[in-house]
Protein backbone atom coordinates (compact mmCIF):
# COMPACT_ATOMS: atom_id res chain seq x y z
CA UNK A 1 0.00 0.00 0.00
CA UNK A 2 2.77 2.41 0.99
CA UNK A 3 4.60 1.72 -2.24
CA UNK A 4 1.59 2.02 -4.53
CA UNK A 5 0.58 5.18 -2.66
CA UNK A 6 3.95 6.63 -3.50
CA UNK A 7 3.48 5.62 -7.12
CA UNK A 8 0.17 7.44 -7.31
CA UNK A 9 1.71 10.51 -5.72
CA UNK A 10 4.71 10.50 -8.07
CA UNK A 11 2.56 10.12 -11.18
CA UNK A 12 0.21 12.85 -10.00
CA UNK A 13 3.19 15.15 -9.51
CA UNK A 14 4.52 14.33 -12.97
CA UNK A 15 1.15 15.07 -14.57
CA UNK A 16 0.95 18.36 -12.67
CA UNK A 17 4.44 19.27 -13.85
CA UNK A 18 3.47 18.42 -17.42
CA UNK A 19 0.42 20.66 -17.17
CA UNK A 20 2.50 23.48 -15.67
CA UNK A 21 4.98 23.15 -18.54
CA UNK A 22 2.22 23.20 -21.18
CA UNK A 23 0.19 26.07 -19.73
CA UNK A 24 1.96 28.99 -21.47
CA UNK A 25 0.89 27.45 -24.80
CA UNK A 26 -2.69 26.84 -23.68
CA UNK A 27 -3.50 30.07 -21.86
CA UNK A 28 -3.86 33.58 -23.16
CA UNK A 29 -1.09 36.14 -22.74
CA UNK A 30 -2.83 37.85 -19.88
CA UNK A 31 -3.42 34.62 -17.98
CA UNK A 32 0.22 33.61 -18.34
CA UNK A 33 1.20 36.89 -16.77
CA UNK A 34 -1.24 36.47 -13.86
CA UNK A 35 -0.03 32.92 -13.29
CA UNK A 36 3.60 34.08 -13.27
CA UNK A 37 2.77 36.66 -10.60
CA UNK A 38 0.76 34.11 -8.63
CA UNK A 39 3.73 31.74 -8.63
CA UNK A 40 6.03 34.48 -7.31
CA UNK A 41 3.49 35.17 -4.55
CA UNK A 42 3.41 31.45 -3.81
CA UNK A 43 7.13 31.55 -3.07
CA UNK A 44 6.38 34.34 -0.58
CA UNK A 45 3.60 32.29 1.04
CA UNK A 46 5.96 29.31 1.30
CA UNK A 47 8.44 31.51 3.13
CA UNK A 48 5.81 32.56 5.67
CA UNK A 49 4.82 28.92 6.02
CA UNK A 50 8.30 28.07 7.30
CA UNK A 51 8.32 30.60 10.12
CA UNK A 52 4.59 30.56 10.93
CA UNK A 53 3.37 27.13 9.83
CA UNK A 54 6.32 25.06 10.96
CA UNK A 55 8.05 27.17 13.61
CA UNK A 56 4.90 28.77 15.04
CA UNK A 57 6.09 32.39 14.93
CA UNK A 58 3.55 34.70 13.29
CA UNK A 59 5.66 37.18 11.36
CA UNK A 60 3.74 40.18 10.02
CA UNK A 61 6.89 41.71 8.56
CA UNK A 62 6.93 39.67 5.39
CA UNK A 63 5.41 42.48 3.35
CA UNK A 64 8.41 44.60 4.32
CA UNK A 65 10.92 41.89 3.45
CA UNK A 66 9.15 41.25 0.15
CA UNK A 67 9.61 44.91 -0.69
CA UNK A 68 13.20 44.94 0.53
CA UNK A 69 14.04 41.98 -1.70
CA UNK A 70 12.33 43.66 -4.66
CA UNK A 71 14.14 46.97 -4.12
CA UNK A 72 17.50 45.37 -3.38
CA UNK A 73 17.22 43.58 -6.72
CA UNK A 74 15.84 46.60 -8.60
CA UNK A 75 18.51 48.96 -7.27
CA UNK A 76 21.32 46.56 -8.06
CA UNK A 77 20.32 45.83 -11.67
CA UNK A 78 19.12 49.32 -12.55
CA UNK A 79 21.06 51.91 -10.55
CA UNK A 80 24.24 50.03 -9.66
CA UNK A 81 24.24 48.19 -12.95
CA UNK A 82 25.27 44.86 -11.51
CA UNK A 83 25.00 41.66 -13.49
CA UNK A 84 21.58 40.00 -13.32
CA UNK A 85 22.94 36.71 -12.01
CA UNK A 86 24.75 38.48 -9.19
CA UNK A 87 21.88 40.80 -8.32
CA UNK A 88 19.31 38.07 -7.83
CA UNK A 89 21.13 36.03 -5.17
CA UNK A 90 22.57 39.18 -3.60
CA UNK A 91 19.06 40.60 -3.18
CA UNK A 92 18.13 37.44 -1.24
CA UNK A 93 21.25 37.73 0.91
CA UNK A 94 20.56 41.40 1.70
CA UNK A 95 16.99 40.50 2.72
CA UNK A 96 18.27 37.63 4.87
CA UNK A 97 20.81 39.89 6.61
CA UNK A 98 18.11 42.44 7.40
CA UNK A 99 16.03 39.53 8.65
CA UNK A 100 18.87 38.64 10.99
CA UNK A 101 19.01 42.22 12.32
CA UNK A 102 15.24 42.32 12.85
CA UNK A 103 15.03 38.78 14.21
CA UNK A 104 17.70 39.28 16.87
CA UNK A 105 15.59 41.61 19.02
CA UNK A 106 12.07 40.70 17.86
CA UNK A 107 12.35 36.92 18.35
CA UNK A 108 12.95 37.56 22.06
CA UNK A 109 9.20 38.24 22.19
CA UNK A 110 6.64 35.48 21.92
CA UNK A 111 3.19 34.81 20.47
CA UNK A 112 1.07 37.88 19.78
CA UNK A 113 3.90 40.20 20.89
CA UNK A 114 6.09 38.93 18.07
CA UNK A 115 3.25 39.52 15.60
CA UNK A 116 2.83 43.10 16.84
CA UNK A 117 6.56 43.90 16.86
CA UNK A 118 7.01 42.61 13.31
CA UNK A 119 3.90 44.47 12.12
CA UNK A 120 5.35 47.69 13.57
CA UNK A 121 8.55 47.05 11.66
CA UNK A 122 6.55 46.64 8.45
CA UNK A 123 4.69 49.91 9.04
CA UNK A 124 7.99 51.73 9.60
CA UNK A 125 9.50 50.25 6.43
CA UNK A 126 6.47 51.34 4.40
CA UNK A 127 6.81 54.90 5.75
CA UNK A 128 10.53 54.90 5.01
CA UNK A 129 10.03 53.84 1.39
CA UNK A 130 7.12 56.23 1.01
CA UNK A 131 9.17 59.21 2.15
CA UNK A 132 12.73 58.54 1.08
CA UNK A 133 12.42 59.24 -2.62
CA UNK A 134 16.14 58.74 -3.21
CA UNK A 135 15.64 55.15 -2.10
CA UNK A 136 12.27 54.23 -3.54
CA UNK A 137 12.08 56.53 -6.56
CA UNK A 138 9.02 58.29 -5.13
CA UNK A 139 5.58 57.90 -6.66
CA UNK A 140 6.87 56.85 -10.08
CA UNK A 141 9.13 54.28 -8.52
CA UNK A 142 11.79 52.85 -10.79
CA UNK A 143 12.06 50.57 -13.78
CA UNK A 144 13.49 47.08 -13.45
CA UNK A 145 15.28 46.15 -16.67
CA UNK A 146 15.05 42.56 -17.80
CA UNK A 147 17.92 40.58 -19.23
CA UNK A 148 17.60 39.61 -22.89
CA UNK A 149 16.67 36.00 -22.19
CA UNK A 150 13.69 37.10 -20.09
CA UNK A 151 12.02 39.54 -22.47
CA UNK A 152 9.53 36.91 -23.60
CA UNK A 153 6.50 36.36 -21.40
CA UNK A 154 6.77 32.57 -21.53
CA UNK A 155 10.47 32.72 -20.66
CA UNK A 156 9.64 34.60 -17.46
CA UNK A 157 6.91 32.07 -16.73
CA UNK A 158 9.37 29.18 -16.88
CA UNK A 159 11.94 31.18 -14.94
CA UNK A 160 9.57 31.81 -12.03
CA UNK A 161 8.22 28.24 -12.24
CA UNK A 162 11.78 26.93 -11.89
CA UNK A 163 12.32 29.00 -8.75
CA UNK A 164 8.98 27.89 -7.34
CA UNK A 165 9.98 24.26 -7.83
CA UNK A 166 13.39 24.94 -6.31
CA UNK A 167 11.75 26.55 -3.28
CA UNK A 168 9.36 23.62 -2.91
CA UNK A 169 12.21 21.11 -3.04
CA UNK A 170 14.28 23.10 -0.51
CA UNK A 171 11.29 23.42 1.82
CA UNK A 172 10.58 19.73 1.57
CA UNK A 173 14.18 18.87 2.39
CA UNK A 174 14.04 21.20 5.41
CA UNK A 175 10.71 20.16 6.89
CA UNK A 176 11.34 16.43 6.50
CA UNK A 177 14.73 16.65 8.19
CA UNK A 178 16.06 16.81 11.74
CA UNK A 179 16.06 20.58 11.33
CA UNK A 180 12.39 20.64 10.32
CA UNK A 181 11.45 18.46 13.26
CA UNK A 182 13.36 20.83 15.54
CA UNK A 183 11.35 23.80 14.24
CA UNK A 184 8.08 21.90 14.74
CA UNK A 185 9.06 21.07 18.32
CA UNK A 186 9.30 24.80 19.05
CA UNK A 187 5.87 25.40 17.55
CA UNK A 188 4.44 22.50 19.50
CA UNK A 189 5.92 23.06 22.97
CA UNK A 190 8.77 25.51 23.34
CA UNK A 191 9.40 24.78 27.04
CA UNK A 192 9.71 21.06 26.40
CA UNK A 193 11.94 21.69 23.38
CA UNK A 194 14.30 23.67 25.63
CA UNK A 195 14.14 20.94 28.26
CA UNK A 196 15.37 18.37 25.72
CA UNK A 197 18.33 20.54 24.81
CA UNK A 198 17.04 22.61 21.87
CA UNK A 199 18.18 26.21 21.75
CA UNK A 200 14.83 27.60 20.68
CA UNK A 201 16.00 31.16 20.06
CA UNK A 202 18.78 30.07 17.73
CA UNK A 203 16.49 27.80 15.74
CA UNK A 204 13.76 30.43 15.48
CA UNK A 205 16.33 32.91 14.25
CA UNK A 206 17.58 30.44 11.64
CA UNK A 207 14.03 29.78 10.40
CA UNK A 208 13.34 33.53 10.26
CA UNK A 209 16.51 34.26 8.28
CA UNK A 210 15.81 31.44 5.79
CA UNK A 211 12.25 32.71 5.49
CA UNK A 212 13.47 36.24 4.75
CA UNK A 213 15.90 34.92 2.14
CA UNK A 214 13.03 33.20 0.36
CA UNK A 215 10.60 36.11 0.58
CA UNK A 216 13.38 38.32 -0.78
CA UNK A 217 13.54 36.02 -3.79
CA UNK A 218 9.77 36.34 -4.23
CA UNK A 219 10.06 40.14 -4.14
CA UNK A 220 12.84 40.14 -6.74
CA UNK A 221 10.82 37.88 -9.06
CA UNK A 222 7.76 40.11 -8.69
CA UNK A 223 9.84 43.17 -9.60
CA UNK A 224 11.25 41.29 -12.56
CA UNK A 225 7.85 40.25 -13.88
CA UNK A 226 6.36 43.71 -13.38
CA UNK A 227 9.33 45.45 -14.98
CA UNK A 228 8.98 48.28 -12.48
CA UNK A 229 8.36 48.84 -8.78
CA UNK A 230 7.32 51.52 -6.34
CA UNK A 231 7.10 51.90 -2.56
CA UNK A 232 3.69 50.18 -2.29
CA UNK A 233 5.43 46.80 -2.59
CA UNK A 234 6.54 47.21 1.04
CA UNK A 235 2.92 47.53 2.22
CA UNK A 236 2.03 45.67 5.40
CA UNK A 237 -1.24 44.70 3.72
CA UNK A 238 0.84 42.13 1.84
CA UNK A 239 1.81 40.59 5.18
CA UNK A 240 -1.88 39.98 5.75
CA UNK A 241 -2.43 38.76 2.19
CA UNK A 242 0.27 36.14 2.70
CA UNK A 243 -1.25 35.19 6.02
CA UNK A 244 -4.66 34.70 4.39
CA UNK A 245 -3.25 32.75 1.43
CA UNK A 246 -1.52 30.49 3.92
CA UNK A 247 -4.42 30.02 6.33
CA UNK A 248 -6.84 29.31 3.51
CA UNK A 249 -4.49 26.99 1.66
CA UNK A 250 -3.44 25.12 4.78
CA UNK A 251 -0.59 25.80 7.23
CA UNK A 252 2.35 23.45 7.73
CA UNK A 253 1.80 21.65 4.43
CA UNK A 254 3.65 22.18 1.16
CA UNK A 255 0.66 21.99 -1.15
CA UNK A 256 -1.42 24.38 0.98
CA UNK A 257 0.50 27.56 0.14
CA UNK A 258 0.44 26.65 -3.57
CA UNK A 259 -3.29 25.97 -3.69
CA UNK A 260 -4.19 28.91 -1.44
CA UNK A 261 -2.08 31.51 -3.21
CA UNK A 262 -2.76 30.56 -6.83
CA UNK A 263 -6.45 29.90 -6.17
CA UNK A 264 -7.09 33.17 -4.36
CA UNK A 265 -4.92 35.21 -6.72
CA UNK A 266 -6.95 34.03 -9.69
CA UNK A 267 -10.25 34.45 -7.89
CA UNK A 268 -9.48 38.06 -6.97
CA UNK A 269 -8.21 38.83 -10.44
CA UNK A 270 -11.30 37.29 -12.00
CA UNK A 271 -13.55 39.43 -9.84
CA UNK A 272 -11.66 42.52 -10.83
CA UNK A 273 -12.13 41.69 -14.50
CA UNK A 274 -15.82 40.84 -14.52
CA UNK A 275 -16.16 44.40 -13.26
CA UNK A 276 -17.42 44.16 -9.75
CA UNK A 277 -17.40 47.81 -8.76
CA UNK A 278 -15.13 48.83 -5.95
CA UNK A 279 -13.50 45.42 -5.86
CA UNK A 280 -10.41 46.85 -4.18
CA UNK A 281 -12.46 47.60 -1.08
CA UNK A 282 -14.75 44.67 -1.60
CA UNK A 283 -11.92 42.24 -1.62
CA UNK A 284 -11.09 42.75 2.04
CA UNK A 285 -14.66 41.89 2.80
CA UNK A 286 -14.41 38.83 0.56
CA UNK A 287 -11.11 37.81 2.14
CA UNK A 288 -12.75 38.02 5.55
CA UNK A 289 -15.71 35.98 4.41
CA UNK A 290 -13.59 33.27 2.80
CA UNK A 291 -11.34 33.15 5.84
CA UNK A 292 -14.31 32.78 8.15
CA UNK A 293 -15.85 29.99 6.07
CA UNK A 294 -12.58 28.13 5.76
CA UNK A 295 -11.86 28.38 9.49
CA UNK A 296 -15.34 27.11 10.31
CA UNK A 297 -15.50 24.27 7.77
CA UNK A 298 -11.84 23.46 7.12
CA UNK A 299 -9.81 24.41 10.18
CA UNK A 300 -6.76 22.89 8.50
CA UNK A 301 -7.21 24.91 5.31
CA UNK A 302 -8.34 23.71 1.89
CA UNK A 303 -5.67 21.01 1.58
CA UNK A 304 -6.43 19.82 5.11
CA UNK A 305 -10.12 19.65 4.19
CA UNK A 306 -9.43 17.71 1.00
CA UNK A 307 -7.20 15.30 2.91
CA UNK A 308 -9.90 14.71 5.52
CA UNK A 309 -12.54 14.19 2.84
CA UNK A 310 -10.22 11.71 1.10
CA UNK A 311 -9.61 9.79 4.32
CA UNK A 312 -13.31 9.80 5.09
CA UNK A 313 -14.13 8.48 1.61
CA UNK A 314 -11.45 5.81 1.90
CA UNK A 315 -12.76 4.82 5.33
CA UNK A 316 -16.23 4.38 3.88
CA UNK A 317 -14.84 2.43 0.98
CA UNK A 318 -12.99 0.12 3.38
CA UNK A 319 -16.08 -0.32 5.50
CA UNK A 320 -18.02 -1.22 2.39
CA UNK A 321 -15.40 -3.80 1.49
CA UNK A 322 -15.41 -5.27 4.98
CA UNK A 323 -19.18 -5.36 4.94
CA UNK A 324 -19.17 -7.33 1.70
CA UNK A 325 -16.71 -9.83 3.08
CA UNK A 326 -18.69 -10.22 6.28
CA UNK A 327 -21.97 -10.54 4.38
Amino acid sequence: MGKSGRYVKASALLILLGIAAALPWLLGKYQVRILTLAMAWTIATLSLNLILGYTGQASLAHGAFLGIGAYAFGIMVQRVGLNFWISLPLACVVTALLGLLVGLPSLRTKGPYFAIVTLCFNVIILKVFENWNWLSGGIQGQVVPRPAFLTQRWARYYFVLAFLLLTLVAMRLIVKSLLGVTLMSIRSNEDLAEAVGINSFRNKLLAFVISCFVVGLAGALLALENGQLDFTITNYLYSFYLLIYLLIGGVATLSGPVVGTIGLYFLLDYMKNIGIKGVEEFRYFLFGLILLLVIIFFPMGITGGVKRAWEWARGRFRKGEAGEVAG
Binding site: L173, I174, L178, V181, S188, E194, A195, V196
Partner: protein, 255 residues
Amino acid sequence: MTALLKVQGLTRLFGGLVAVNKVDFEVPEGSILGIIGPNGAGKSTLFNLIGGTIPPSEGKIFFAGRDITGWRPYRVAREGIARTFQTTALFEELPVYVNLVIGRRMRTRSGLGDVLSRTPRMRRERDETTAKVMEVLEFTGLGRYAGEPAGSIPQEAQKRLAIGVALMGEPRLLLLDEPTGGVGMGETDEIIDLIGRVRERGITVCVIEHKMRMMMSLADRMVVLNFGVKIAEGEPRKVCEDPAVIEAYLGECIA
Protein backbone atom coordinates in the same frame (compact mmCIF):
# COMPACT_ATOMS: atom_id res chain seq x y z
CA MET B 1 30.16 6.84 45.67
CA THR B 2 30.56 10.42 44.52
CA ALA B 3 27.68 12.84 44.29
CA LEU B 4 26.41 13.36 40.74
CA LEU B 5 24.11 16.19 41.79
CA LYS B 6 24.78 18.50 44.69
CA VAL B 7 22.44 21.28 45.80
CA GLN B 8 23.63 23.88 48.33
CA GLY B 9 21.44 26.37 50.18
CA LEU B 10 19.01 26.49 47.27
CA THR B 11 16.39 29.19 47.76
CA ARG B 12 13.66 30.59 45.56
CA LEU B 13 11.29 33.42 46.39
CA PHE B 14 8.02 34.20 44.62
CA GLY B 15 7.24 37.68 45.87
CA GLY B 16 6.98 37.21 49.63
CA LEU B 17 6.59 33.44 49.38
CA VAL B 18 9.65 31.28 50.03
CA ALA B 19 8.87 28.34 47.74
CA VAL B 20 12.22 26.65 48.33
CA ASN B 21 14.13 27.54 51.49
CA LYS B 22 17.87 26.81 51.90
CA VAL B 23 17.65 23.24 50.68
CA ASP B 24 20.79 21.05 50.65
CA PHE B 25 21.12 17.50 49.39
CA GLU B 26 23.29 15.22 47.32
CA VAL B 27 22.43 12.45 44.91
CA PRO B 28 25.05 9.70 44.57
CA GLU B 29 25.62 8.41 41.06
CA GLY B 30 23.49 5.39 40.19
CA SER B 31 20.95 5.86 42.99
CA ILE B 32 17.29 6.77 43.12
CA LEU B 33 16.33 9.73 45.29
CA GLY B 34 12.69 10.11 46.24
CA ILE B 35 11.34 13.58 46.98
CA ILE B 36 8.06 13.82 48.85
CA GLY B 37 6.06 16.53 50.56
CA PRO B 38 2.52 17.89 50.73
CA ASN B 39 0.97 20.02 47.99
CA GLY B 40 2.78 23.32 47.54
CA ALA B 41 5.86 22.12 49.43
CA GLY B 42 8.13 23.32 46.63
CA LYS B 43 8.98 20.01 44.96
CA SER B 44 8.27 21.06 41.38
CA THR B 45 9.95 24.40 42.01
CA LEU B 46 13.05 22.49 43.08
CA PHE B 47 13.10 20.67 39.73
CA ASN B 48 12.51 23.94 37.86
CA LEU B 49 15.56 25.38 39.60
CA ILE B 50 17.77 22.38 38.79
CA GLY B 51 16.50 22.22 35.20
CA GLY B 52 17.10 25.94 34.64
CA THR B 53 13.46 26.85 33.94
CA ILE B 54 13.75 29.52 36.65
CA PRO B 55 16.91 30.89 38.29
CA PRO B 56 17.42 30.46 42.05
CA SER B 57 17.27 33.48 44.35
CA GLU B 58 20.20 32.02 46.28
CA GLY B 59 22.27 28.89 46.46
CA LYS B 60 24.26 26.70 44.11
CA ILE B 61 23.69 23.64 41.93
CA PHE B 62 26.59 21.36 41.01
CA PHE B 63 26.34 18.62 38.42
CA ALA B 64 29.24 16.18 38.09
CA GLY B 65 31.36 18.71 39.94
CA ARG B 66 30.42 21.56 37.64
CA ASP B 67 28.57 24.68 38.77
CA ILE B 68 25.44 24.88 36.59
CA THR B 69 23.59 27.49 38.65
CA GLY B 70 21.51 29.79 36.46
CA TRP B 71 22.15 27.91 33.21
CA ARG B 72 19.44 28.00 30.54
CA PRO B 73 17.38 24.79 30.26
CA TYR B 74 18.83 23.67 26.92
CA ARG B 75 22.38 23.90 28.32
CA VAL B 76 21.43 21.97 31.43
CA ALA B 77 19.89 19.29 29.20
CA ARG B 78 23.01 19.07 27.03
CA GLU B 79 25.10 18.68 30.16
CA GLY B 80 23.18 15.48 30.88
CA ILE B 81 20.12 16.30 33.00
CA ALA B 82 16.80 15.22 31.49
CA ARG B 83 13.40 15.80 33.04
CA THR B 84 9.68 15.22 32.79
CA PHE B 85 6.99 17.66 33.88
CA GLN B 86 4.19 17.26 36.41
CA THR B 87 1.51 18.02 33.83
CA THR B 88 2.71 15.65 31.12
CA ALA B 89 4.50 17.68 28.47
CA LEU B 90 4.72 16.19 24.97
CA PHE B 91 4.74 17.43 21.39
CA GLU B 92 1.09 16.48 21.24
CA GLU B 93 0.18 16.86 17.58
CA LEU B 94 3.33 15.07 16.43
CA PRO B 95 3.57 11.27 16.17
CA VAL B 96 5.10 9.30 19.04
CA TYR B 97 8.25 8.45 17.07
CA VAL B 98 8.77 12.11 16.10
CA ASN B 99 8.59 13.02 19.79
CA LEU B 100 11.46 10.63 20.34
CA VAL B 101 13.42 11.99 17.37
CA ILE B 102 13.18 15.47 18.90
CA GLY B 103 14.48 14.11 22.20
CA ARG B 104 17.66 13.09 20.36
CA ARG B 105 18.17 16.32 18.44
CA MET B 106 20.67 17.83 20.88
CA ARG B 107 23.03 14.91 20.24
CA THR B 108 23.06 15.59 16.47
CA ARG B 109 24.83 18.37 14.58
CA SER B 110 23.13 18.49 11.14
CA GLY B 111 22.37 22.05 10.12
CA LEU B 112 20.84 23.78 7.12
CA GLY B 113 23.77 22.94 4.84
CA ASP B 114 23.62 19.23 5.69
CA VAL B 115 19.90 19.17 5.14
CA LEU B 116 19.91 20.90 1.75
CA SER B 117 22.83 18.95 0.30
CA ARG B 118 22.04 15.68 2.10
CA THR B 119 25.55 15.23 3.43
CA PRO B 120 26.88 11.90 4.76
CA ARG B 121 26.71 13.38 8.25
CA MET B 122 22.99 14.01 7.84
CA ARG B 123 22.39 10.46 6.63
CA ARG B 124 24.50 8.99 9.43
CA GLU B 125 22.73 11.03 12.11
CA ARG B 126 19.35 10.14 10.66
CA ASP B 127 20.18 6.43 10.77
CA GLU B 128 21.60 6.67 14.28
CA THR B 129 18.49 8.50 15.44
CA THR B 130 16.24 5.87 13.86
CA ALA B 131 18.14 3.10 15.62
CA LYS B 132 17.86 4.89 18.96
CA VAL B 133 14.13 5.48 18.41
CA MET B 134 13.63 1.76 17.84
CA GLU B 135 15.54 0.94 20.99
CA VAL B 136 13.58 3.39 23.17
CA LEU B 137 10.23 2.31 21.66
CA GLU B 138 11.12 -1.21 22.72
CA PHE B 139 12.43 -0.14 26.13
CA THR B 140 9.28 1.84 26.97
CA GLY B 141 6.91 -0.64 25.31
CA LEU B 142 5.41 2.02 23.05
CA GLY B 143 6.00 0.26 19.73
CA ARG B 144 2.34 -0.10 18.84
CA TYR B 145 1.72 3.63 19.28
CA ALA B 146 4.72 4.73 17.19
CA GLY B 147 2.74 6.42 14.42
CA GLU B 148 0.00 7.97 16.52
CA PRO B 149 -0.12 11.61 17.66
CA ALA B 150 1.37 11.75 21.16
CA GLY B 151 -1.67 13.60 22.50
CA SER B 152 -4.05 10.83 21.47
CA ILE B 153 -2.49 7.84 23.25
CA PRO B 154 -3.65 6.75 26.76
CA GLN B 155 -2.56 8.81 29.75
CA GLU B 156 -0.34 6.07 31.15
CA ALA B 157 1.39 5.60 27.78
CA GLN B 158 1.94 9.37 27.61
CA LYS B 159 3.74 9.22 30.94
CA ARG B 160 6.03 6.49 29.59
CA LEU B 161 6.56 8.46 26.40
CA ALA B 162 7.67 11.52 28.39
CA ILE B 163 10.29 9.31 30.04
CA GLY B 164 11.24 7.90 26.63
CA VAL B 165 11.74 11.39 25.19
CA ALA B 166 13.98 12.21 28.16
CA LEU B 167 16.00 9.02 27.61
CA MET B 168 16.67 9.76 23.93
CA GLY B 169 19.39 12.26 24.84
CA GLU B 170 21.20 9.64 26.97
CA PRO B 171 21.15 11.64 30.20
CA ARG B 172 23.17 10.85 33.32
CA LEU B 173 20.47 12.23 35.61
CA LEU B 174 16.72 11.94 35.13
CA LEU B 175 14.28 14.16 37.07
CA LEU B 176 10.75 12.73 37.17
CA ASP B 177 7.94 14.94 38.48
CA GLU B 178 5.10 12.65 39.56
CA PRO B 179 5.58 10.02 36.84
CA THR B 180 2.45 8.17 37.95
CA GLY B 181 0.33 11.27 38.63
CA GLY B 182 -3.12 11.10 37.07
CA VAL B 183 -2.69 7.42 36.26
CA GLY B 184 -5.08 4.83 37.68
CA MET B 185 -3.80 2.66 40.55
CA GLY B 186 -3.78 -0.48 38.44
CA GLU B 187 -1.63 1.12 35.74
CA THR B 188 1.27 2.41 37.80
CA ASP B 189 3.18 -0.88 37.87
CA GLU B 190 4.47 -0.56 34.35
CA ILE B 191 5.82 2.90 35.08
CA ILE B 192 7.48 1.79 38.32
CA ASP B 193 9.01 -1.12 36.47
CA LEU B 194 10.25 1.27 33.77
CA ILE B 195 11.92 3.53 36.36
CA GLY B 196 13.63 0.49 37.87
CA ARG B 197 14.99 -0.50 34.46
CA VAL B 198 16.18 3.07 33.87
CA ARG B 199 18.30 2.78 37.03
CA GLU B 200 19.67 -0.58 35.87
CA ARG B 201 21.07 1.27 32.88
CA GLY B 202 23.18 3.29 35.27
CA ILE B 203 21.08 6.44 35.06
CA THR B 204 20.67 8.36 38.32
CA VAL B 205 17.05 9.25 39.11
CA CYS B 206 15.31 11.87 41.25
CA VAL B 207 11.60 11.20 41.51
CA ILE B 208 8.81 13.27 43.04
CA GLU B 209 5.85 11.21 44.17
CA HIS B 210 2.86 11.38 46.45
CA LYS B 211 2.42 7.63 46.71
CA MET B 212 4.44 6.67 49.78
CA ARG B 213 4.14 2.94 49.17
CA MET B 214 5.69 3.30 45.75
CA MET B 215 8.61 5.27 47.16
CA MET B 216 9.33 2.67 49.80
CA SER B 217 10.14 0.04 47.22
CA LEU B 218 11.77 2.28 44.65
CA ALA B 219 13.93 4.90 46.37
CA ASP B 220 17.34 4.34 47.94
CA ARG B 221 17.04 7.58 49.87
CA MET B 222 14.36 10.17 50.43
CA VAL B 223 14.15 13.91 50.98
CA VAL B 224 11.03 15.37 52.57
CA LEU B 225 10.04 18.97 51.91
CA ASN B 226 7.47 21.01 53.78
CA PHE B 227 6.81 24.70 53.08
CA GLY B 228 10.01 24.79 51.09
CA VAL B 229 12.15 23.45 53.92
CA LYS B 230 13.84 20.08 54.00
CA ILE B 231 12.48 18.44 57.16
CA ALA B 232 13.93 14.95 56.79
CA GLU B 233 16.37 12.95 54.73
CA GLY B 234 17.58 9.37 54.72
CA GLU B 235 16.55 5.80 54.07
CA PRO B 236 12.88 5.40 53.15
CA ARG B 237 11.96 3.35 56.24
CA LYS B 238 13.60 5.77 58.67
CA VAL B 239 12.04 8.78 56.97
CA CYS B 240 8.68 7.11 56.98
CA GLU B 241 8.78 6.63 60.73
CA ASP B 242 10.03 10.14 61.45
CA PRO B 243 7.42 11.89 63.63
CA ALA B 244 8.01 15.26 61.90
CA VAL B 245 7.25 13.65 58.56
CA ILE B 246 4.14 11.90 59.83
CA GLU B 247 2.87 15.18 61.21
CA ALA B 248 3.64 17.22 58.07
CA TYR B 249 2.39 14.63 55.68
CA LEU B 250 -0.77 13.96 57.71
CA GLY B 251 -0.17 10.36 57.02
CA GLU B 252 0.86 7.22 58.81
CA CYS B 253 3.68 4.98 57.76
CA ILE B 254 2.30 2.51 55.29
CA ALA B 255 4.83 -0.19 54.75
